[in-house]
Amino acid sequence: MGRIVLDKVKKIFGDITVIPPLDLEINDGEFVVFVGPSGCGKSTLLRLIAGLEDITSGHVEIDGVNATDVPPAKRRLAMVFQSYALYPHMSVRKNIAFPLRMAGLEKAEQDRKVEAAASVLNLTDYLDRRPGQLSGGQRQRVAIGRAIVREPAAFLFDEPLSNLDAALRGNMRLEITELHQTLKTTMVYVTHDQVEAMTMADKIVVLNEGRIEQVGSPLDLYRHPANLFVAGFIGSPRMNLIEGAEATRRDAATIGVRPEHMTLSTEAGDWTGTVGVAEHLGSDTFVHVQLDDVGPVTARASGEISLGHGDRVHLTPDPAQIYRFDAAGSAL
């Protein structure tokens, strides 16, 4: 079981309100991702759930029990830190066994659980090494192993992949998702990378300045962003936001068109402009176009297109895929 409910949770550091009163429900077995720009309070929120920070007001419920004043160790949550926080003077085996040792488990039982976790995470050959002798990905797995052996009600991940290189990050993303499917335990995952959020989450919580902007499944947020912030944050490359005459013509303060929802043509189209940079990725080409009347936009074209700086192009937005926002930024 691992159902976490936040009820009017508020956090103030000094005079700064980091998190204004906030409500959130995390269901048992869900993979929830907190995503937002740096300083949006997502890590603080995770630490409030973990109990590493005190809540100013409101309360946290874990499995129906009020956990607001329960110390971190008693909340049955396991956390994987950004720096991995491995104990450098202990071997991998001792690192993973540490929570079991603290719980006073028998030595044989400890060994059995450590071996089991190590085999799940491909760490069996490294059990007697020190963290300093491991690569980044292996350290990451040790940190996850230390969390798994506790058999917690929920896992908390604080930007666990930000110290890995791009290729390894892709692998670990898959491994964590697979782990979630095997264990079926609740996972709360903090990241600033919307790609991680989109690929891993069952439910994404978009945070901005401590407030929840929108909660929903990845495709939900992609298809129906509730406001300008979510529209600009979810999707890569980001949505083109256009103000002015084009927006007014559609009865909105701002309109949004995703790069993938525009047709690029060299002959004719609604909007005309000059190519600035064309990024050839092989599978796709992202073309940055300075439109004559509308301003700069990014469009996705096929990978085979050959365009260069200074070429004249025409863009046509898909009328069914134009998002409209009012002056306050809410979706219409």
Partner: protein, 288 residues
């Protein structure tokens, strides 16, 4: 610019410093070795010729040799124990966020800047004096008989004085080490269910082990040579004669330069054994 030319230029420019330091070390060392094989009594006939290893055997067979070695070990060990234990506790205390942290830290470091002679005299006259000392007043206030610190608890008194001087050094080194401890490690241990004492034992103390080794190494080398504190307080009486003090007495009080020099050579060997031993520990720690 690591050409052959720049390397020889660098050697040439370093030469004066190296030669000066070598001379500074080699001249006294050679003279000590030279005198240790001679019977040399400045006020009783001067240079009385070569005597071979006579001085060496006389120094170690003298009835005051083993007691002085023991005293040295007790003082060094006692000071190390007090400074490391209190140093760790003080460092943890000073690491806590508090108002006026900067000033408190400077105050803690202050005793290190007081000259050994001065601090020993201050302790002797202001604290430990059995008539006018602060401690005597304190004892009298509670109706107890004042302790004659420097004669009744002489070794303990000297350990106390020296530990007071070296505590800031230990605290400072351990504090910088504690500050480099990743707070996420402590939080991870907290989440793993480790109570505060276990966090100290399993995380903080192992993290400090290297700093503690360095404190022990540096202090041992300096503590083997403490002299002023003994000279101005007990003058070597009441069982406070260390090896260093014994050498001093042989040379200046007994006016036996040869015998004292032999003692000096023993002290050099002893210090080198300690240094070698401790360097190995540090080396092992640095590998890990």
């Amino acid at each position: 610019m690591a050409t052959r030319h720049s390397r020889s230029a660098a050697r040439l420019m370093m030469a004066p410093a190296v030669i000066l330091l070598l001379g500074w070390m080699l001249v006294p060392l050679t003279m000590t070795l030279f005198f240790s094989f001679k019977k040399y009594l400045p006020l009783r006939g001067g240079d009385l010729g070569w005597v071979g290893f006579d001085n060496y055997t006389r120094f170690v067979t003298s009835s005051s040799f083993w007691p002085s070695v023991l005293t040295t070990l007790i003082i060094v060990g006692g000071v190390l124990l007090i400074t490391v234990v209190l140093g760790v506790l003080l460092a943890i205390l000073l690491d806590q966020p508090m108002w006026g942290q900067g000033i408190v830290r400077i105050l803690v470091i202050a005793p290190f800047f007081v000259m050994p002679t001065v601090s020993a005299l201050v302790w002797k006259n202001m604290f430990m004096d059995p008539v006018n000392g602060l401690l005597a007043h304190l004892w009298k206030f509670f109706g107890a008989q004042p302790v004659e610190w420097l004669s009744d608890a002489s070794i303990f008194s000297i350990v106390l004085i020296v530990a007071w001087q070296w505590l800031p050094f230990a605290t400072l080194i351990l504090l910088t080490s504690i500050q480099s401890l990743d707070s996420e490690q402590l939080e991870a241990a907290e989440m793993d269910g480790a109570p505060p004492l276990a966090r100290f034992g399993f995380i903080t103390l192992p993290h400090l082990s290297r700093a503690i080794t360095i404190v022990v190494l540096i202090q041992t080398i300096f503590l083997l040579a403490i002299f002023a504190e003994i000279f101005v307080t007990t003058g070597g009486s009441f069982g406070t004669r260390t090896l260093t003090y014994l050498i001093f007495q042989r040379v200046l009080e007994s006016q036996n330069v040869g015998l004292g020099s032999a003692g000096g050579v023993y002290a050099i060997i002893l210090a080198n054994i300690v240094a070698l031993f401790l360097m190995r520990i540090v080396g092992k720690n640095l590998d890990a």
